[in-house]
Assembly symmetry: C2
Homo-oligomer: 423 residues x 2
């Protein structure tokens, strides 16, 4: 049989076609029955005569897989303006009753229930849309970088030592030896700047986050970028602007109500702190970081002053940045590290990195750390690394911010957290 | 400074430009010095007057990062027909002597030495090319599937139970509970067929392979595809043909000397066994699988008969296929599972899967297994799953086959195996 998709029906009026999908909704009225079939392109309405008590339809459970053959007829009252009439229904795979109602406009089940039954809950059109938007955003991420000469790489997720910090790392038994799940591809993407100059990776990263919050996952998808032969972090910020624009542009415009300005406004950390302190009547001088309330104020300020949902804060103090962050040569104690805020919430972190071996040794020593556990990664810095920098976008965080999701689990297919290991 | 890339030089003859990259090769002759600079687009030759003993150039170590300003001049004897003259060199980041010579046409160091110094060895142009081809192939994989309406997904790599079999699985301490690294996204991609109908994932999979072979890695990159509303495995094979054609077409043609035929020839397992047995004078009736020698013979046969490097073998016996494989309804003991051979070696495995809950329970029972450990994944099959199937392409295996690499580690950026956990 040739399968016609729901989205193709408006162009098939008058023809007899076969559609296939899930019995999204089945309603038996006295004189007529309605069957809504869901496929990957949308919903299709089927109108049937009342079925006999002993018929297949009488016992049809929603979410059963069905094939329906019928004549396409225009009906302005039907979804998408057409419906199938004179139809016959074949049940391909009958379903048992589901613990969730998928046919309502929104899912009414609690989030934990949705997550327990993720394979079902994700079928809801509203939930599907989030992940289609995510897939589009990642496509935009890659195509932007491909056009800029970046090479996609795949790096080890099992590593010999923690990459970001000793805490929050999952231990694994690696053929009887201790090993860890990678918290980021940081050293690998830097190493590969020495090979390809410009690299990106889309892959899982792992954080043994011991707190049960709406913002943290034990596994998330990191969109990692690193580029060499930069002058300073401003070149990294320019690449991030392009990437962000590519990601937003790739998403269905009905799903996203923001745009990335040609030039994202930028403010230095010190100036940001001064502005916020003045506005809120607080003495923030010497603060090493921005509090959420400060970020919110800055978001509103960027919207008011520049009409922008996006704002760069650059020049963060060294104390709150990873040891591999390049200092600001003109401002002791501050770095070439930046955050990108979206509507007053941190969306992306990035910066210029150190590129000289001796600078790494000194940076680790300044933190009371030995270079020894990092030696396998640091040795390449002895052999000619260009000035470079990069950033990482958490895909789920990006989607949560864009959709205003209250809990990051809403925008994760099968979340992993302190308690959740299935499905 | 505006940086000119090596590939742009032929269009800049007569101009003074600045290039930046690595000191790939430095040769001091009596009356002249040559410096070859490598950047992400290729090599550029710089001609310099003999340097003073105390100059920067006199102590220049290869792989140092340099910036060179000079005038572009045509010279048919130079690589790409141009060279930089009247040049000045600035050393951006000096290198220490490398344990490998990167300027020779091929790397002469042993594979273990190359892997120990992967961050350096990968810089060799011949090694870079493999991974650029890999990135292109993955781009072709995705764009083919995007055009066919597939949705890219990201699934958990930490799971509660083994997916493929109880063996060869890495154990992890998950907040004090036992968990495992996913051997494949098999159940997730099947579950998501129930959501999006057509899905793919590019991600790491993990096998605690206890044998030190040239073919096995503890982590590799799996290109996973699954599609619903199929008639049988032939629809999956058709999708794989498109994907394979898209992957091969995306690779630089100078790197790949094969093509994917419009219709890949296919032979049933039973007929394949009979042909091979007859040709080799062996009684193979009842054999449950193809031996490497049999696959080689079939590869030569496909080339001879169809001029094709590719050959499908379909209908493998159930005994050698995973429990989720759909049986061949017309041939008891055989399945709708297939292999794709490339030049007589298995490249891809795939097939139609079971789509009814009760079939899973029966299939597990037939193998003496309880459905209980799989329940979190199987429950979705109670709720309407369409007939579906899929396949998985190991990216490194694909690259090894295509390049004829003797060891899969040659086509892996940072391999993980029984002994190798760094870099």
């Amino acid at each position: 049989m040739h399968r016609t998709l729901a989205s193709e029906l408006p162009a098939r009026v008058g023809q007899t076609v076969t559609i296939a999908g899930w019995a999204h909704r089945h309603r038996r009225l006295k004189s007529v029955e309605f069957l809504i079939v869901r496929d990957r392109t949308g919903l299709a309405q089927v109108v049937l005569p009342p079925s006999a008590v002993d018929s297949v339809l009488a016992t049809l459970v929603e979410e059963s897989v069905v094939e329906v053959t019928g004549r396409v007829t225009a009906n302005p009252a039907a979804p998408s303006g057409v419906e199938l009439v004179d139809a016959s229904v074949r049940v391909v795979n009958p379903a048992q009753p589901a613990p969730l109602d998928l046919y309502r406009p929104t899912l009414t089940a609690s989030l934990p229930t949705q997550l327990d039954h993720a394979g079902l809950a994700l079928r809801h059109p509203a939930r599907q849309r989030v992940f289609r938007a995510g897939a589009a955003a990642v496509r935009g991420f890659r195509s932007t970088l491909d056009d800029l000469g970046f090479v996609e790489v795949h790096t080890p997720k099992i590593v010999a030592s923690a990459t970001e910090s000793g805490a929050n790392v999952f231990a694994i038994d690696y053929f009887g030896r201790p090993a860890y799940l990678a918290q980021s591809p940081q050293f690998y993407k830097q190493t590969l700047v020495g090979v390809f100059e410009r690299v990106y990776e889309v892959g899982p990263v792992f954080r043994a986050e011991p707190h049960d919050t709406v913002r943290h996952l034990a596994q998330y998808t990191s969109l990692d970028v690193e580029l060499g032969f930069i002058t300073d972090h401003r070149d990294v910020m320019a690449a991030l602007r392009s990437v962000m624009a590519g990601m937003v542009a790739a998403i269905d415009p009905s799903f996203v109500d923001t745009e990335v300005p040609e030039q994202i406004p930028s403010v230095h950390f010190v100036d940001a702190l001064a502005m916020v302190g003045k506005a809120l009547g607080e003495d923030l001088s010497g603060e090493p970081d921005l509090a959420p309330a400060h970020e919110r104020w800055l978001g509103e300020w960027a919207k008011r002053e520049y009409g922008s949902d996006f704002l760069f804060v650059e020049g963060f103090p060294a104390a709150k940045r990873p040891f591999y962050t390049h200092p600001d040569p003109s401002r002791p104690g501050y770095t070439n590290g930046f955050d990108l805020l979206f509507r007053g919430v941190e969306l992306v972190t990035g910066g210029q990195r150190l590129h000289r071996y001796e600078d790494y040794v000194a940076a680790l020593a300044a933190r009371g750390e030995s270079p020894e556990p990092y030696e396998a990664y640091l040795s390449v810095f002895r052999h000619g690394m260009p000035p470079h920098g990069g950033f990482a976008i958490g895909l789920e965080r990006f989607l949560a911010r864009l959709t205003g999701a209250a809990n990051i689990r809403e925008v994760t297919l099968f979340p992993r957290d302190l308690t959740r290991l299935t499905p």
